[in-house]
Symmetry: C2
């Protein structure tokens, strides 16, 4: 679909709509059983995660959640799902669940959420604004969700990073006025960094050892390719004064033959989770 003009808007994670002097940011994420969550997984966690993934899209735009519409395929513990959904909406600024649609259907459980937010800064950051000379930064370590999924599957260890990811909503709002480009890392740091480079028409050169990880060093390569941590990846001009707590992981260079370099070479293998 990516080459069809109608589908181009789908390449970014959010839409921006100017209306009545306000700038709205809209996003929709769909999650399917066996693809985005485990069969039989606690639906309260699924409800939470559906909100968190959408909030993460708004965070990357520096937007505050206002209202949500739910698309919900009935089945299983529907009330647990709603509990998780509502507690996450409340956690992230008390956005109102305004409506939506329920369906009864066969097949794997499919749930979707449209989240509408209000921009706190204009212009709204995009993934296409990285410029040569900018620093490349990340809001925190990657890999925790990978370990969380393993814990959930094995029944040993803490699975909360996978089950209840934390969207960086506050970070996004404080960063929006300072960044040249921003996006959330949902499909793997290397893949999403390459997307930012391609959207911006630049090369992004990452420093392998500088990337913070939440896993043993031996699993660094995997962590860089694993999504679901919902950190914010951003570029900022050298003169920007960033708040503390962010990690510089690379530099934006003029566009070269490779959009993404890791210690000077194109990274090998799969870079992350490619959607269909």
């Amino acid at each position: 679909m990516a080459t069809h003009p109608a589908a181009r808007g789908l390449a970014d994670d959010c839409a921006v709509l100017e209306i009545g002097g306000e700038t709205l940011v809209l996003t929709h994420d769909t999650m399917v059983e066996s693809v985005h969550f485990l069969p039989g997984q606690d639906l309260e966690d699924v409800g939470w995660k559906l909100v968190a993934t959408n909030v993460s899209d708004l965070a990357a735009k520096g937007a505050k959640p206002l209202a949500a519409l739910l698309s919900y395929q009935l089945g299983g513990d529907d009330l647990a799902f709603l509990r998780g959904l509502q507690s996450a909406l409340q956690h992230y600024g008390d956005a109102a669940l305004l409506g939506g649609d329920t369906v009864s259907a066969p097949g794997p459980k499919t749930v979707g959420l449209t989240l509408i937010g209000r921009a706190t800064h204009v212009p709204v950051p995009s993934r296409s604004g990285a410029r040569p000379g900018d620093g490349v930064w990340i809001s925190g370590p990657v890999g925790a969700a990978m370990l969380g999924l393993e814990a959930l599957q094995s029944g040993v260890g803490n699975s909360s990073a996978y089950r209840r990811p934390q969207a960086r909503l506050g970070c996004g709002q404080e960063l929006a006025p300072l960044v040249s480009a921003m996006m959330d890392v949902s499909d793997g740091l290397l893949l999403d960094a390459r997307r930012m480079a391609e959207a911006s028409g630049v090369t992004i050169a990452l420093d392998y050892a500088a990337i913070p990880i939440a896993v043993p060093e031996a699993r660094r390569d995997e962590a860089l390719r694993w999504g679901d941590d919902y950190q914010l990846l951003f570029s900022a001009p050298p003169e920007a004064t960033l708040p503390s707590g962010y990690h510089r992981i690379g530099t934006v260079r003029p566009q070269g033959p490779q959009p993404l370099l890791l210690d000077g070479a194109a990274p090998a293998g799969t870079l992350g989770y490619e959607h269909g």
Copy 2:
């Protein structure tokens, strides 16, 4: 779900959001293969219908489409789907497809659309405003989609009323300032009329013979229980001066033991298509 506070918003088909001096109307409809469309049905028609069902929700609010977000499960002729979707968006006021989400997943094809519109009249009509003494009206005949589905299944006759339903967008805008309550008929006239009566705390008394139908008289009972025609059902005070072309089909009465009467008695059997 209907008794859970979190789910109450889902009972209506649209959400209303006031922002920046504007009144936005938002809706989301999901369609699932084998439930809302036939297996193997032309995806260009499915794309059209997904837009039309959402536009119909906005029509009942007197709103104009502005922008759309798509949730799309890949598979089959994706470009045909997008063609149908885009031509319907263009047909109904050229709303922009701003973004969304694509997923690859097993199971029946599931597609969803969030449509954002701008109210042309405030207060925005709801289904809860019908008052005793009001007339009850419909924008056109019911039953055409039923015949259309039969034509599609048999391969004989014109199936367009089922494949390419027409949302009454212009009607909704001209009616919004005049009605006391309005909704679209998506699940069957009798069922939707009962919903309006229950939401308004009244009894709606319909005149069986006055209801316009697009089918032979012998199939009147079925047509009154069949959805997918997307006519507008509305109530209006006796003093309202309505444009021509609408059909008076009943009267709003004070709340009695039955929310819906058909020629004075509660109608027998299933009233329409009940969602899960």
